[in-house]
Amino acid sequence: MAKPKVAFFDFTCCEGCQLTVLSLGDKLLDLFESVEVVNFREASSYKGQDYDIAFVEGSIASSKDIERIKEIRKRAKVLVALGACAHTAGVNAIRNFHNQQEIRKMVYGDKAWVFDSILAQPIDAIVRVDYYIPECPIDKEEFLRFVSQLLNNMKPFLPDYPVCVECKMKGNVCNYHKPNPIICLGPVTRGGCGAICPSAGNACEGCRGLIPDANLEAMEWLLNEYGVSAEDKFRFYRMYNGLMGMKK
């Protein structure tokens, strides 16, 4: 069987997901063994335009981006959104809630209209996405599992359960039970990260997006119960889930 041809592309983002791939350690060599990487600008000068699987990280944030992602979709048999920016627009979407004219002026002053910029959007706002690997940044183990399952002609496993499941497995004290409780989006956020943030003493900020049947009414009830102001709530939702309620 011929090795599948794989390409990596980046749009607006920190490129931390591609870097995570480059940081797979020994498994990176296994990856190079099992697929043919034909386009990986960050790591390679070879710009192959013939590929089966396209991993795309980053958000769509300019009109040029729209053209480029459409071209990639046309060529790719399988298109995978890599990481939060591609999946939910990630932190990039924070700016969607600011006045666009104002922030452009703030940044570029009188040259505000020189640069091409549109609202930050996830990849699937423009083209069809076959699979998602969520999280900011992606998890190495999940990426490897994803690739091996894809190579094995499987529909890759993506948990539908929330972060709480793995947080409990880890035996963490719930963020809402600490002497000074902190907002945690664990109950509505898709698991699979191993509850990495709560396990490191932080809160789940929702970077993996919502579970398919997230109970947002219950979340409202909970945050009200803890006296969280509406402003705090929205700020927190809008770390990664600016499109919450519309996009899961």
Binding site: S148, D160, V165, N172, G186, I211, D213, N215, L222
Partner: protein, 359 residues
């Protein structure tokens, strides 16, 4: 505890052991390289952790975040590994090593006693049984309620029914030690002296006082414990399920922390070479959406309220009826873990009871 005695066909030995010498015995075992796990403080709560000294043990603390079941039925457990070249080689994996579990509360001992039933019934689950056999369970009696959520007294679970090797009761300078097995007896290695009738009477008195205290402090269970299966059975269509379901995250936290939830998912993980891999099981939970989804996409228990009902019924109806024991030991973990306060089995039973009486 009486049940354990009668099942073993005779009285169990009881000893009086100086606390210092008991703890010294454990510390020596640790020095010899034995793995000892006990509850220790974790932030404002507790958790089971491998200890280096008995000084780390949190006696009489709140219930651990995760129950002791994780030592016999871990969150992730490899069941087999395989290699598929020209030949298929499948190697079952049963991992078990000796472990001393010290300071276990009755709710968790009883939880394991119940899991013993289900994992040995008909198709014996070797992965569970081997771990269980390697475990030395040293329980400790709770003399104060451990948390506002717990209701072990209401579930006849303040003392272990079965499933321990030693059970300690704090008598100040001494432990009153009840032996539950030959393994427990040999662990003691002749420490202490046989308990006298006076010692036994003293413990009886302590337990009477403790019962009174628990009765006063723990939340009441309004229906009779033995009536729960019938009460639930008659209230299948109670509005309670939908009302509570509306506020349920379906997050599965209650399943994860429960000492008697034992559902699991099985998945394969294959290496990039597609030739080597493992099959493992992970904790799963009936409160999770995916739990009943089949390949064609149908979900058989889609409604959160129905899932909540199923969980409650498993504890206090289906398995209660089947085994003659409630599968809720009143540890209170689920009630604590449930952030929107919908899952607590005692609350649910009381609410249903009240509503059915006012009908």
């Amino acid at each position: 505890m009486d049940q354990a005695e009668s099942r073993r066909g005779g009285r169990l030995e009881k000893y009086l052991v100086a606390k210092t010498s008991f703890l010294k015995l454990v510390d020596e075992q640790i020095k010899e390289g034995k793995e000892v796990v006990a509850p220790v403080r974790q932030e404002n709560q507790a958790n089971f952790r491998r200890i280096k000294s008995t000084a780390e043990i949190l006696w009489g603390g709140p219930q651990t975040v995760v129950s002791a079941k994780s030592f016999v039925f871990p969150p992730k457990e490899e069941l087999l590994n395989y290699e598929t070249n020209d030949e298929v080689r499948v190697q079952p994996r049963v991992e078990a090593k000796p472990l001393i579990l010290l300071g276990v509360h009755s709710c968790d001992i009883n939880g394991m006693a119940l899991l013993d039933k289900v994992f040995t019934e008909k198709n014996l689950d070797e992965n569970y049984v081997k771990k269980r056999e390697n475990l030395t369970v040293i329980g400790v009696e709770c003399l104060e309620p451990c948390s506002p959520e717990s209701f072990c007294y209401r579930k006849d679970s303040v003392l272990p029914w079965d499933g321990f090797d030693l059970f300690l009761t704090d008598l100040g300078k001494n432990f009153f030690v009840e032996v539950g097995s030959a393994k427990g007896e040999s662990f003691l290695s002749g420490l202490g002296k046989k308990a006298t009738q006076a010692d036994v009477d003293r413990v009886k008195k302590i337990r009477r006082e403790r019962d009174a205290k628990f009765d006063e402090k723990q939340r009441k269970l309004k229906p009779k414990l033995s009536d729960l299966p019938v009460l639930l059975k008659e209230n299948y269509n109670s509005p309670v399920w939908a009302e509570r379901g509306a506020r349920c995250f379906g997050c599965g936290s209650c399943n994860m922390v429960c000492p008697t939830c034992y559902c699991f998912d099985v998945r394969d993980c294959v290496e990039l070479d597609l030739k080597h891999g493992i099959r493992a099981r992970w904790w799963d939970g009936c409160m999770l959406t995916d739990f009943t989804r089949i390949a064609t996409g149908e979900i058989f228990r889609e409604d959160r309220g129905a899932r909540l009902r199923h969980r409650t019924y498993r504890k206090d109806y289906y398995l209660f009826e089947k085994w003659g024991k409630s599968f809720c030991t009143g540890c209170g973990r689920c009630g604590k873990a449930c952030l929107t306060k919908v899952v607590d089995p005692l609350d649910i039973a009381n609410e249903i009871y009240e509503r059915s009486r006012s009908r």
